[in-house]
């Protein structure tokens, strides 16, 4: 998909993605020449088509995780289907506060390992030693993890 500003004959650049939570998607593209914005709005089925490709409009905010599409697409997976990652999965000094751990426990087990990895990498990259609920909220906002 490419977006062309017809007035300027310039490629419009991706600016922002919003997921209102009702299955729809909004992606904003801007013309770097005239500054005009346009929004791509998709209905739930169109959003699902994009999701089914295992891609995110505008590019990924975090690298695609192994089995991400399977984990997020299966409607009723066996919760204990996957053996939890070993200790070598969480290198570095990052620790989880009690409250953050409780919040992580609320994540379905089928996707918990993946979610834990994403937050752990976020903290390590920023030199954060303790993951708290506040760090999790910030990561969700920074990384665009509206669905996690």
């Amino acid at each position: 998909m490419k977006f062309l500003c017809l007035a300027c004959d310039e490629v419009m650049t991706f600016a922002e993605r919003q997921l209102p939570g009702d299955g729809t998607l909004t992606a904003v593209f801007t013309c770097s020449s005239c500054g005009r914005d346009m929004a791509l709005l998709t209905n739930p089925m169109e959003t699902q088509l994009v999701t089914s490709l295992g891609v995110e409009i505008g590019g990924r905010t975090v690298p695609e995780q192994p089995f991400q599409q399977t984990r997020t697409s299966l409607e009723s997976p066996r919760e204990d289907a996957l053996a939890p990652p070993g200790t070598d999965d969480a290198p570095g000094p990052v620790v989880w506060s009690g409250e953050a751990s409780e919040r992580l426990e609320a994540v379905p087990r089928f996707v918990r390992g993946m979610v834990k990895r994403i937050y752990g990498e976020y903290a390590r990259e920023r030199g954060i030693e303790v993951i708290t609920p506040g760090v999790m909220d910030q990561a969700r906002s920074d990384l665009g993890l509206e669905s996690m």
Binding site: K2, L4, G58, L74, R78, A83
Partner: protein, 315 residues
């Protein structure tokens, strides 16, 4: 009536349909949506993962109920018994059975940072199947808006199959067997992901209906340029206890005639073997050790080993 000035003004100002707009190929800029780049990255990840696999071998048919999964399980074990490192993918996402047949039921893949580490089943064969991820007897359903699921479900399943192939930590394998579900379209879906499998085994039974479907699959593979395609005729006769000669189970042609009619080399003619069926259902496929079908399975494993990507070909 349109006046001359009106006409000139209209002609001078191009309509939306006639003005020149640069087309997709003319806009030589990366796609700002990032969709194409992500799809390319997914392909790259799949290729890197399969680079450590000696040969990807698809077991397909086009027809259901011909014993593809049982043959996959028993071929996997027969190859493993010959010392090969074997993995297996159950590409039948909706009707999985390979996990059970390989003795993987109840085992859990390890949720590792580089992918799922597959559990080990019969004779060291590692494998992945939706059977390992779903509650027992639960139907496979995908998250998504209700209605018109057909629009996106196929795309989702292709993505999940890509992860089954590319997001599993296979390690160094000699063979990765892929059990393709019924439907010639499913063979096409697999070829979209793995365009150049080292070998494809088409399984049929001697029934004329099955043979006609398998012939279509053979045609599809030929059109796709897959060079190494072999035919396995399953349930090719049954020798009752105390009898000397096998009796046919179907009113079709013999395996040789079937092979000739489809135009494929006959790699194995596997007789009906109740013991093999029972043990495979229990997750203990006998492979080449099967009483009635063992010799045929041994021959099939040897043919695979001699084929492209096979260990004997590499020596």
């Amino acid at each position: 009536m349109e006046t001359r000035p009106d006409l000139e003004a209209r002609v001078a100002k191009p309509s939306a349909s006639s003005r020149k707009i640069r087309g997709y190929a003319e806009v030589t800029h990366e796609t700002e949506s990032g969709v194409l780049e992500q799809v390319v990255a997914q392909r790259g990840r799949l290729e890197r993962r399969l680079a450590s696999v000696g040969a990807v071998i698809a077991i397909a048919s086009g027809k259901g109920g011909v014993g593809k999964s049982a043959i996959t399980a028993n071929l996997a074990v027969a190859l493993a018994d010959r010392g090969a490192r074997v993995g297996a993918v159950d590409a039948d996402l909706n009707g999985p059975s390979l996990g059970r047949m390989l003795g993987l039921l109840g085992a859990r893949p390890l949720d590792g940072p580089d992918g799922l580490v597959p559990p080990t089943g019969s004779r060291g064969v590692v494998g992945i199947s939706t059977e390992l991820l779903l509650e027992q007897d639960a139907a496979l359903r995908w998250r998504g808006p209700d209605g018109d699921r057909f629009v996106w479900q196929g795309v989702t399943e292709a993505g999940v199959l890509r992860e089954f192939l590319g997001d599993v930590v296979w390690g160094e394998l000699d063979y990765l067997l892929v059990d393709i579900p019924p439907g010639t379209d499913k063979i096409g879906r697999f070829l979209d992901l793995v365009p150049d499998p080292a070998q494809v085994i088409l399984v049929t039974i001697p029934s004329r209906v099955a043979v006609s479907v398998v012939a279509r699959s053979a045609s599809l593979l030929e059109d796709a340029g897959v060079d190494e395609v072999g035919l396995v005729v399953n349930m090719a006769g049954y020798t009752p206890a105390g009898a000397d000669e096998p009796v046919p189970l179907f009113h079709g042609d013999g395996a040789g005639a079937v092979s000739e009619s489809i135009g494929l080399e006959l790699w194995a003619r596997i007789p009906f073997d109740p013991e093999l069926g029972a043990r495979t259902d229990e997750g203990d496929p006998p492979g080449a050790r099967a009483a009635a079908a063992g010799e045929a399975l041994r021959g099939l494993a040897e043919r695979v080993e001699r084929g492209p990507g096979g260990r004997e070909r590499a020596r």
